[in-house]
């Protein structure tokens, strides 16, 4: 350093102190003053601080009190049920809105805004008798016109709502018969119609809101027990008790529900331990047992309708022979994967459908059997001809496959793919494992077959949002649903299965179940996938949180929760 001349009197420590004072004062002021968050205020009349107890003290109903704080991994993307395709949105929507019918915890259909219904004209007309005395959160009465306004909206193709494609192929028109009777006329008999109405897209929006032209996705108004107070995008959603909720026996028990977005699994778990939150979605399987009973924390695991599978690109020569595909299934020890990777939270898939999905029937089980797997490969012409540990065909070509997987999309996805890699290695198949970021992955697996030469084995998961088998078999296995048109990413094509899928769509009751069951068995024997596991989902909560209902379609029903 060069010598310094001209020593000034301003002490350097002064600079340091000034920096500190400015910084701390700045931080303090910023905390106190500016920085009002971006919020969406639902109804201007809702007061934020005054306890919401005064208005609800009717005869016997206990006033709502306290706050339920819930942590989930991803924020809702829209509070417009007819435009929502993701679970976090549906979970919030199911607190604010109600549908004509609702799922119970076994995915049976129960009445909600409709008290009863009649099915007429060979299943092409559904007449719903609506509940009286129900009001939306904005005071609009609920009636047949409200129902018609809702379905006219989702069926309006110019609005380009995401759930247009769920209803448009089925519903031809909605007719108001009288104030409290409404008829749905279908284009064909459709076995899964009530499930489609119990679906998150069937939640009923206030017709006043729809007609106002306001943005539904940020200004939701339903008939549900809680209403939106504030949505700080990416951070939290605050719901407050609806003081005028129609169903006094299921009146809201909490003054507020705050849903906080906490992306990291460990961070969510920590917040439960610190007591900052009451209920946490998706505890990593490895911690479920150890966390249960720590302090006042309990954990729960629930079977879901999600099946994890490893699809094969059936347009690829390597997977033409059904014996090869079956060999791959026999080579993988599903039970070991469940025990070591999922800590026992799962069960082997015995059909393309999970056992909690309506229409499931046991189709078979490729129980782990290396000998059998090797025999099947040998019958198909693949065995280790040169003694290098890998199988070859008559031309000396090795059986080498790409296995693609996302990481973090499904619990244990990457670890499962790793396990499959070593299981296939054990029968002499060389596997190149490749991990993808989810968005790029989706883009890649959705490509048409003539652009998918490198796609060979790829891990996917599917949970039907309608809770029934049509929404597994049709999008995943019908030949007209080949990617990119649908989600049949492995280009499975079986005429018999196509016919059965069409049959189950237009039949009801036992006929429909039989058709679905037959389809499942054929698919299982065709082995277009390595059938992996039925996933479980997990919750962690304080022991005083009661009344949380878990639907196997991976939806947590928070509206019935209470503190006890």
């Amino acid at each position: 350093m060069v010598r310094e001349r001209g020593i000034s009197t301003s002490a350097i420590i002064g600079i340091v102190v000034v920096i500190l004072v400015i910084a701390i004062a700045g931080a303090y002021l910023a905390t106190r003053g500016g920085g009002a968050p971006a919020t969406t205020t639902a109804s201007p009349s809702t007061t934020t601080t005054a306890p919401a107890t005064t208005t609800t003290t009717t005869t016997t109903v206990a006033p709502p009190k306290g706050t339920l704080i819930v942590a989930m991994g991803t924020d809702a993307s829209t509070l417009d049920p007819q435009d929502a395709t993701d679970n976090p949105s549906e979970m919030v929507n199911r607190i604010i809105y109600e549908g004509l019918v609702e799922f119970d915890q076994n995915l049976n259909i129960k009445p909600m805004l409709a008290e009863s219904w009649d099915i007429k004209d060979n299943g092409t007309t559904y007449v719903f008798h609506l509940r009286k005395g129900v009001f939306f959160q904005d005071g609009t009465p609920f009636d047949a016109y409200a129902v018609k306004t809702n379905f006219d909206r989702v069926l309006n193709s110019t609005l380009k709502l995401q759930r247009y494609s769920l209803y448009a192929p089925i519903i031809s028109s909605v007719e108001v018969i009288d104030n409290y009777t409404v008829a749905f006329h279908l284009k064909m008999p459709f076995g899964a119609f009530l499930n489609d109405l119990a679906h998150g897209a069937g939640l009923i929006i206030s017709p006043t809101l729809i007609n106002s032209g306001k943005d539904v996705k940020t200004n939701p108004v339903g008939t549900g027990p809680y209403m939106l107070q504030e949505w700080v995008k990416g951070d939290h959603i605050t719901l407050v008790a609806n003081p005028n909720y129609w169903n006094k026996t299921a009146a809201p028990k909490f003054e507020k529900i705050i849903i906080k977005v906490v992306a990291d699994d460990k961070a969510r778990e920590n917040l439960l331990k610190t007591g900052d939150v009451d209920l946490v979605l998706r505890i990593p399987p490895v911690d479920v047992a150890s966390l249960n009973g720590t302090g006042n924390i309990i954990t729960r695991a629930y079977p879901t309708s999600r099946v994890i599978y490893i699809a094969m690109n059936l347009m690829n020569q390597k997977f033409q022979d059904v014996r090869v595909r079956q060999a791959f299934n026999y080579a993988v020890d599903k039970e070991a994967i469940i025990n070591s990777i999922l800590n026992g939270l799962g069960k082997p898939a015995t059909s393309p459908l999970a056992s909690s999905t309506y229409g499931y029937c046991y189709a078979g089980y490729y129980k782990y059997n290396v000998t059998l797997a090797k025999e099947l490969l040998k019958e198909a012409g693949w065995w280790d001809r040169d003694g290098d540990g890998y199988v070859e065909n008559a031309n000396g070509q090795k059986l080498e496959v790409n296995l693609w997987t996302p990481q973090g999309r499904y619990v244990g996805d990457y670890q499962m793919a790793q396990a499959v890699q070593s299981y296939l290695n054990a029968i002499g198949v060389k596997v190149n494992l490749q991990v993808w970021e989810w968005t790029s992955y989706l883009n890649e697996v959705r490509k048409p077959y003539n652009q998918s030469q490198n796609k060979e084995l790829f891990l996917m998961g599917w949970a039907p949002s309608t809770g029934e088998g049509d929404w597994v078999l049709r999008p995943l296995l019908a030949s007209w649903m080949w990617a990119p048109a649908g989600s049949n990413y492995g280009y499975y094509n079986n005429t018999q299965v196509d016919e059965l899928i069409q049959k189950q769509m237009v039949t009801l009751g036992q006929d429909r179940l039989n058709a679905m069951c037959q389809a499942q068995k054929i698919v299982y024997n065709d082995a277009p996938w390595i059938f992996m596991v039925e996933m479980y989902d997990t919750l962690g909560m304080k022991s005083n949180v009661k009344g949380v209902v878990y639907l196997p379609i991976e939806i947590v029903m928070l509206k019935y929760a209470y503190s006890g």
Partner: protein
């Protein structure tokens, strides 16, 4: 000023980078069970069917008129997403850098004065730990101690605006980690400054030891420290994503990372532009500080 070309260049790079990422926002938004038509409709709705240069000029137009439009994914106005997040990040960054400077400079001076003693070694071990410890580890340690065991500080922000209490643990995490390089830098440049001849001269003049250390030596030692702190502050403003994730803190970094995964192009673009602009401003401020600390540095 180099500010304008820097920002222009950054805008082009940022725009191209996000568009060159594989993956299609329309596909994500349309959901897993979308048909091809659903996806195409979504693409038109989002304006992604237009050619890239057109999209770039639209982006610049919106930036220059500060009419940022809405998020592709959530439909929220982008200003309402970015501005509060940015203020949250600013609070955190200011507190963290203050903690870093206070701890780092004091420890650095002490270590330099007690050079090669036990005190010096303890300080340097602390600094080494700080430099090598991953930020998430320190964050989790602090949560375990203060939130889970002692129950005296919250581990996250529940509700609208973070208060000082909510800021303590995340800013301490970032501040302690940031203090380490500052302590090391202060120590070495203090040692160098103290060995200069003018210090001996000052001693000969009979100035007090305190004045010599805090005024003459520290002043010369501060230049590299300010450089390090300025860079660190810039990074903190860009969003301490990992810290924000562990504490579920509503800061800018998390917003941008979430938006990248969702391919929410405009939020990523405007968020990054904001960071670039701030980085440039912080650099300018650091240059001004150089001149304040050492008058021989002249601003052009």
């Amino acid at each position: 000023m180099l500010l304008i070309p820097t920002l222009l260049g950054a805008s082009i790079i940022i725009f191209l980078m996000i568009h060159f990422l594989p993956g299609d926002p329309a596909q994500i938004l349309a959901g897993p069970d979308a048909t091809l038509q659903d996806i195409q409709n979504m693409r038109i709705r989002l304006g992604l069917d237009k050619p890239l240069p057109v999209q770039y000029f639209l982006f610049m137009e919106r930036l220059l008129t500060w009419n940022l439009g809405n998020s592709l994914v959530s439909g929220f106005p982008i200003t309402s997403l970015i501005v509060p997040r940015f203020l949250n990040t600013l609070k955190l960054a200011l507190l963290a850098i203050s903690i870093s400077l206070a701890i780092g400079i004091v420890l650095g001076i002490v270590a330099a004065l007690k050079r090669n003693t036990t005190v010096d070694r303890i300080v340097m071990i602390f600094a080494l730990l700080g430099v090598s410890m991953p930020v998430f580890l320190l964050a989790v340690l602090l949560i375990v101690i203060f939130s889970i065991k002692l129950h005296i500080l919250p581990a996250t922000v529940i509700g609208s605006t973070p208060s000082i209490r909510h800021l303590v643990l995340p800013s301490l995490t970032l501040g302690l980690i940031g203090a380490a390089p500052i302590a090391r830098m202060t120590r070495s440049s203090m040692i160098e400054a103290l060995s200069q001849e003018y210090i001996k001269t000052s001693e000969a003049f009979g100035f007090s030891i305190r004045k010599i250390i805090l005024v003459y030596a520290l002043r010369n030692a501060l230049i590299p420290v300010v450089t390090v702190a300025g860079l660190n502050f810039g990074y903190l403003l860009a969003g301490a994503v990992i810290t924000e994730t562990v504490f579920a803190y509503p800061g800018l970094g998390r917003l941008i990372v979430d938006s990248i995964f969702a391919r929410d192009y405009p939020v990523v673009q405007f968020g990054l532009m904001m960071i670039v602009a701030l980085f440039a401003v912080v650099n300018t401020v650091v240059d001004v500080l150089y001149a304040l600390i050492n008058p021989r540095v002249r601003l052009e």
